[in-house]
């Protein structure tokens, strides 16, 4: 749990840094102000903001009362009494053969164990953000360091880096993911590690390619002629030009990671069951459609929650790409 809290802190700090950077640079503020004229983009930003609020509300622990487990703000606001079993959204009785009165009101109904579906869905937000955020934090430095070194120094460094990523890339992604999760066992950290190890290659390739191009630019050559060291040239002159690609890639990969979590959890190599996650919800819900009456609300709320987040992220990354670098359109 402490580990998850540290990860959460890191994710928040990284997002804040990225936001500050974006607001300060003229290129980004132009792209962002373009958002205002596009209702789709505004909608996506609003959804993302709402999700972030939920994730943040789920991260602050309220002072615990004596004899009670610690609660987050989200628990305080949305926790509902546990019922006996399934109940439909806004129903007053459970969906059993002999319906029993419910203890409380459940806007999205309850699942098989009697847990409130809305609460479970909201609990999944933080898990998704943690997985997406922490993995991206692992991927960015890995891809950046290797990609920059390979692209800038070339020769044997380039050969070595290319060899390493070709090796990783030859193992089909999903198989490698499953194998790593299978060997390391279920868990949040394991998942970030597995997802990180399988998704840095794409970005590394892009960074290497871009660095190869940037290295030949006039300002880099003049910096070298002025006698600047390689470290300074990489950090001050090449890295800033890579930032747009990095942020676009991070947004896009975030949405892929959320989807990957769902699949891994279904295959029983995801996060453990006690961690609220959308993958676990869908996994539990997959047999419910065959019941009579049909239990659809569990599956539906998890699906809608995933859909809204991933859709918004996809829209935002598309908009950023179009705003920042039209040449990347459709890449």
């Amino acid at each position: 749990m402490i580990l998850a809290d540290c990860l959460a802190g890191l994710v928040v700090a990284a997002c804040a840094l990225a936001l500050i950077h974006m607001l300060r640079s003229p290129l980004w503020s132009r792209a962002v102000s373009g958002f205002r004229r596009r209702p789709g983009a505004m909608f996506a930003v609003a959804v993302l903001g709402l999700y972030s609020l939920v994730a943040i509300a789920d991260s602050f622990v309220l002072p615990a009362r004596a004899g009670q487990p610690p609660e987050t703000i989200l628990d305080k606001l949305f926790a509902r009494p546990q019922e006996r079993t399934y109940s439909a959204p806004l129903a007053e009785r459970t969906s059993e053969a002999t319906p029993q009165p419910l203890l409380g009101r459940h806007i999205l109904g309850t699942d098989g164990l009697g847990n409130d579906v809305l609460y479970r869905t909201l609990k999944g937000v933080r898990t998704a953000f943690l997985i997406g955020g922490a993995t991206t934090l692992l991927v960015l430095p890995l891809a950046l360091i290797f990609g920059l070194l390979a692209g800038y120094f070339g020769r044997w460094v380039d050969d070595a880096v290319q060899y390493v990523y070709t090796v990783f890339d030859s193992i089909p992604n999903i198989l490698l993911l499953i194998a790593i999760m299978f060997v390391l066992g279920q868990g949040l950290l394991q998942m970030c590690l597995a997802l990180g190890l399988t998704s840095w290659i794409g970005l590394c390739r892009i960074v290497r390619g871009e660095t190869l191009k940037l290295r030949e630019r006039g300002y880099v050559t003049s910096a070298r002629a002025l006698g600047y060291g390689s470290g300074r040239i990489i950090v001050r002159h090449i890295l800033p030009n890579l930032l747009p690609i990095l942020i676009i890639y991070a947004t896009l990969s975030f949405s892929r990671l959320v989807l990957a979590e769902v699949i891994l959890s279904y295959l029983q190599v995801g996060v453990p069951e006690y961690v609220g996650s959308w993958g676990n919800m869908i996994d539990a819900a997959r047999l419910e459609l065959t019941r009579e009456p049909v239990i659809w609300w569990n599956l539906a709320s998890a699906t809608v929650a995933i859909f809204l987040l991933v859709f918004s992220l996809n829209v935002i990354s598309d908009e950023l790409r179009d705003g920042i670098d039209p040449s990347l359109r459709g890449a």
Partner: protein, 313 residues
Amino acid sequence: MLRYLVRRIFYAGPILLGVCLATFALFYLSVSPEQMARRNISAKNPTQAQIRDWLVARGYDKPLQEQFTRHARSLFLLDFGKSDSTGEPIAQRLRQGAVPSLIVGSGVLFGSVGASVILALFVAAFRGTYVDRWATVLCVAGMSVTVLVFIIAGQYLFGKLLVWFPLAGYQSGIGGLRFAVLPILVGVASALGANVRFYRTVILDEMGKDYVRTARAKGVSEPRVLFVHVLKNAAIPILTSFVLSLPFVVTGSLLLESFFGIPGIGSYMVDAIDGQDFAVVRAMVFLGTVLYLVGAVLTDVSYALVDPRVRLE
């Protein structure tokens, strides 16, 4: 061509060696054999003797060098050995599962490439209009729904409500095809969003080129420009994505097969994950890797076949 092939196969050596080392580190160094035994033995508290027997029976008690040799053998010669939990030869199960996986996998592959290229051409023909804009939005929406939901919803809608297809199951022979239709449809539908979007950009890229203007100026009809001139030139990216997904035709789609109860290679792996069977998971990783490398060579060869400008030397 032959020289190129030989060289490519020669190049695959070091890569396989790297894969061999990486997977050895993953499967043998990051988890101790005793842990493997504990996870695989179904008894809740296995005794030391039980664990020892399990290790000896499967050869996990040998020194690391010997284990490595065995590991390398199974990757380079595709000699997979026996399953950890049932003891049956893995190769035999793979052979049994290959046909069902091949039917579903090739159906999904051909279906999705065919459907998405045609749809992408259609969307590209309407570029810049409302059709194009809404199609793009729909594609992004399709990309944002997990495969699991496509499967569950498809199964519910066509298998249970409409009863057009059997819900799940498999049968060998011609009669089995009706079991394959629904998984194929669902597989095609779930990949449609991402594919159409990708092919649309590829096609739009081609449509901006000079030869398209020339063809139009010559009076070639718009459908002919799209389906003959543009499609031919867009073949390389389409082929790449086609060949790179070839390994999955054989290894099967894990999710589709396990949901629809198709006894293919994919559901074999899902069972192996459930049964904590390390040997089978390892075998699947090796099989996938080798197929991927073969697929990469095939991609290059197919470039040369499709595009006369590409010479393999």
